[in-house]
């Protein structure tokens, strides 16, 4: 059946089987392979994308459920000027990734969190990121990276 939604600011229309997950639709129909599939049962968080502003496991959502939604994937977090974004640069500076397989899910989850709560404290960051699994880093550098990236998400206040 046909489904229409927006991915990274561009409208798309795809013909999908009703059982196709959003993750598989993004990866294999739209060839946005930056979103990774690690468990297909909603535990690992590698497939996290941002749907209408909320971090969502795209393996637990069907593509047809995305009708009319605005979706942002890891590819949509890249800056237009080709430089790393502050969040990406912070991950690099803190060595918050090794194999990089879980990284798209951490970036989308952290981006969704900091966009809403740029002042999230360490406990809050740990709580939110505890829904994503990483097998390489032991998480400590990821927490450091996300805390360090908060400043870039704070809106300039009145002087």
């Amino acid at each position: 059946m046909p489904v229409q939604f927006e991915v990274n600011g561009k409208p798309v229309e795809v013909e999908v089987e009703p059982r196709l997950t959003l993750a598989d639709c993004l990866r294999h129909e739209l060839r946005l392979t930056g979103t990774h599939v690690g468990c297909e049962h909603g535990v690992c968080g590698a497939c996290t994308v941002i749907v209408d502003g909320a971090a969502v496991r795209s393996c637990l959502m069907l593509a047809v459920q995305a009708e009319g939604a605005k979706i942002v994937t890891i590819e949509g977090l890249n800056s237009a000027d080709g430089e790393l974004t502050p969040l990406q640069a912070s991950f690099r500076r803190h060595h918050a990734l090794q194999c990089g397989f879980c990284t798209p899910g951490f970036l989308t989850t952290a981006h969704a969190l900091l966009s809403e709560e740029p002042d999230a404290d360490e406990e809050r960051v740990r709580e939110v990121l505890s829904g994503n699994l990483c097998r390489c880093t032991g998480y400590i550098p990821i927490i450091e990276a996300v805390l360090d990236a908060r400043a870039a998400y704070r809106k300039p206040g009145p002087r």
Binding site: E75, F101, C102
Partner: protein, 765 residues
């Protein structure tokens, strides 16, 4: 060429991050191929049985299904997967066939492969393949295996694959005369690596050229090409193994599994590209398990704590088959049971037994994690019995720096001989005590504070690395004057590209930007390569890069000399130019001459990094939960290439070890069904679990066996964790007399130990 040795030792930000952070990594499942068919593997639902018939008619009748491959399609003889490491003749009867033919021996064993237009259709078809399996009693533990009443391989007559033995001195006499002896039983449970990226294979068979291309190779692509060539009866030159981004290795990923034959075979069978990506449940029942070992261990000491002898009788549960590197863990647990201590008399054996469970292979620190748990627990118990400070007992028994190189007792039948290359084990011990604040924390030892018992403990370890025999590298001058680095080592996500770029740039005295990229792993890059295991990539590959860089500079000088009309000895390489007598030529100009140079490093010795970890835990007796209050790790790795990546290896390994100690458990029922087959049941650590870990890495004692002075350093972090945590829990619960003897220390298991201890106390009172 100007920039002198500034990169090695610096926290250089990683090159691979630039693609991985942008979602531009290329993992095997990201690849697409025209005309591809998708494979799904039908796996045995029973642990042990005779495979009488497979009815594929209904599956083949489904729309979109193109083929169902079973053992019958493989011809008269279904080949076995050969052993990669420690290929002893005793273990040959226990090799795994590439697909089950007459028997199934574990839940998850491949029985058939369906090829269809989509992965979903292939999975649909799995449900209508009818298996006729006559169930047999399942052998699910090593006791049942050793009884040899039910045999996995009837024709072989026993479930015992082999016994590894270590003998040194006269342990029997030492135990007879020793003033202090203690005997214990310990066990480490089945758990495993669980890489975040599931395994996958994409294959294309070019019928016209007779050439097979495999994407998704990892760890040891050249070796796996040898195996595949043999199994498919093709020359090695007819196979290209391509390594893409790899989502974690840890010993598990990249060994030759049944699917590494079945998918290429399927592609040739149907003449179309075939892709297979496992799901998580498949991963948990099909990829190697690890660690399941138990031991009866005995220590003999003088009254002053000098260790005289160790005796150990251990059993390793191998699962249903001996896989490519399955014997490494048990072999290591025998060879490294004494760890960093000088123990004059040893009498150790480890029996390898097959059971109806998923076969085992290596997992980071194979055998060493187990051995450290056994030994460090026993050392703490001995220290308490003897009234000696556990720190002092360890210090007293260390192999001394003056004894280096120190020969480790050999293991038979593998004949593996090795020696510790360098080290002063007191350095990391003292530094670790300082980092954790050992003396300050002693006031909390065993104390009950705000509902939790506190305990502090240490554990010491050695980490082996740098397996031989060889590694190769090539440097190529690109047309833009930059230099590409090609290497036989394999990337598993550890940061190989950055480490080798640092080494190459320093050797060439060029800034990092002049390195055009590091390409690794694939069999298309170099004539030979040896891959990444046993923490060998930096030492072996890095030393090969050094050799190639030296040859490359000679080639540059020679080419420049003929351009500049001077003697090669007169050519100076400065700032990316070749200069002589006031004239110069750029590297870009020299590239027209097609300059490349090869280098290799051959080595039959191992490196031994060493260290000490300390943990402070707080145990809640109401729940059995162990909170990690503080953790300090100190390791001397000889030479650090990139301190940021080094810290990443340490902390990552420690958290994996904490998972294996406190959370992760591959649980089987009496029928041989895996009960923890999802990530909701098999609990990996999360970001909230272990926030307080500090890792310190030292460069005190470089390795004398390689030009970098580096030691393998990717695995040490995991090795002592089980022992350290169990010792800290024992220290915390000493007033109750709780002695953890079996891992994991998951809340329900520890809670039961506490309840039993409280029951004992109540009865005596």
């Amino acid at each position: 060429m100007g920039a002198r040795n500034v990169l090695v030792g610096s926290p250089v930000e990683r090159l691979e991050d630039l693609r991985l952070l942008r979602g531009r990594g290329t993992f095997v499942d990201d690849l697409a191929r025209e005309n591809v068919l998708h494979a799904a593997v039908l796996r045995s639902p029973v642990a042990h049985g005779r495979l009488r018939a497979i009815d594929t008619k209904a599956a083949l009748a489904l729309p979109g299904v193109h083929a169902v491959i079973t053992a019958a399609d493989l011809g008269a003889r279904v080949p076995n997967i050969p052993l990669r490491l420690i290929p002893l003749p005793e273990m040959l009867p226990f090799e795994q066939p590439v697909i089950a033919a007459s028997k199934v021996r574990y839940v998850g064993e491949p029985v058939a492969v369906v090829l269809a237009d989509s992965a979903a259709l292939a999975e649909d078809a799995l449900e209508v393949v009818r298996l006729d399996i006559e169930p047999l009693p399942a052998v699910t533990d090593r006791v049942a295996a050793a009884a040899d009443k039910v045999l996995l391989f009837e024709e072989h007559g026993t479930n015992r694959a082999v016994t590894f033995t270590v003998r040194q001195g006269d342990a029997a006499a030492a135990f007879k005369e020793a003033p202090y002896v203690r005997r214990e039983r310990f066990s480490v449970h089945r758990h495993t690596a669980v890489t975040l990226e599931p395994r996958g294979v994409l294959t294309e068979w070019d019928r016209a050229q007779g050439h097979l291309t495999i994407w998704g190779a990892a760890k040891v692509p050249f070796f796996n090409r040898q195996i595949l060539a043999r199994l498919m009866v093709l020359p090695e030159s007819a196979i290209s193994m391509i390594e893409n981004d790899v989502g974690g290795g840890f010993g598990n990923r990249g060994e030759f599994y049944p699917e590494d034959f079945l998918i290429p075979f399927a592609a040739r069978h149907v003449g179309r590209p075939v892709k297979w990506t496992e799901d998580r449940r498949e991963h948990l029942i099909a990829a190697n398990h690890a660690r399941e070992t138990d031991i009866e261990i005995e220590i003999a000491c003088r009254k002053d704590g000098t260790i005289l002898a160790l005796r150990g009788h251990a059993y390793a549960d191998m699962g249903a088959y001996v896989r490519t590197n399955g014997a490494v863990g048990p072999r290591n647990s025998a060879q490294f049971l004494a760890g960093p201590y000088h123990v004059p008399h040893l009498d150790i054996d480890v029996k390898l037994l097959v059971t109806n469970k998923t076969p085992v292979g290596t997992y980071r620190g194979p055998g060493r994690f187990e051995a450290d748990f056994f030994r460090e627990r026993l050392v703490d118990m001995a220290a308490r019995d003897l009234g000696i400070d556990p720190v002092e007992l360890r210090r007293r028994n260390f192999v001394a720096e003056s004894e280096m190189p120190y020969a480790v007792a050999a293991v038979t039948p593998s004949g593996a001989e090795t020696e510790f290359d360098s080290g002063d084990y007191r350095i990391t011990l003292d530094r670790c005590l300082q980092e954790i604040g050992w003396s300050d924390k002693q006031r909390l030892q065993g104390k009950f504070v705000d509902g939790r018992y506190h305990g502090i403990a240490i554990g010491c370890f050695i980490e082996g690395g740098a397996a031989g025999p060889k590694e190769t590298a090539r440097l190529v001058l690109e047309p833009d004057g930059r230099i590409a680095v090609l290497v036989g080592s394999a990337g598993v996500g550890q940061g190989l590209e950055t480490a080798f770029a640092q080494i190459a740039a320093d050797a060439l005295e060029l800034p990092l930007e002049r390195i055009a990229g590091v390409r690794h792993g694939s069999t298309t890059l170099l004539p030979e390569g040896y891959g990444s295991y046993h923490s060998r990539a930096v030492v072996m590959g890095g030393s090969a890069v050094l050799a190639a860089a030296s040859a490359f500079k000679t080639a540059l000088r020679d080419a420049a000399a003929s351009r500049l009309g001077c003697d090669a000895a007169a050519v100076e390489l400065v700032d990316g130019e070749a200069r002589a007598g006031g004239r110069s030529v750029t590297l870009a100009a020299l590239a027209e001459d097609g300059i490349a140079a090869d280098g290799s490093f051959t080595n039959h010795h191992h490196t031994y990094a060493y260290g000490t970890h300390a943990a402070h835990v707080a145990v809640d007796p109401r729940t059995g939960h162990v909170a990690l209050v503080d953790y300090a790790a100190v390791e001397d790795v000889g030479r650090i290439i990139n301190p940021m990546m080094m810290r990443g290896q340490q902390i990552g390994a420690i958290v994996q070890g904490l998972g294996g100690t406190l959370l992760e458990h591959l649980v089987y029922d009496a029928e041989g069904q895996l009960l923890s087959g999802t990530l909701a049941d098999y609990l990996l650590p999360t970001a909230g679990d272990f926030p307080s870990i500090r890792a310190v890495t030292l460069e005190e004692k470089p390795s004398p066996i390689n030009p970098l002075g580096a030691k393998g350093a990717g695995e040490g972090g995991i090795v002592p964790v089980g022992g350290v945590i169990a010792n800290a829990v024992a220290a915390a619960l000493s007033s109750l007399g709780v002695e953890p003897r079996a891992l994991p220390l998951s809340p329900p298991r520890l809670w039961r130990l506490i309840k039993e201890a409280q029951g004992r106390t109540a009865r005596t009172a």
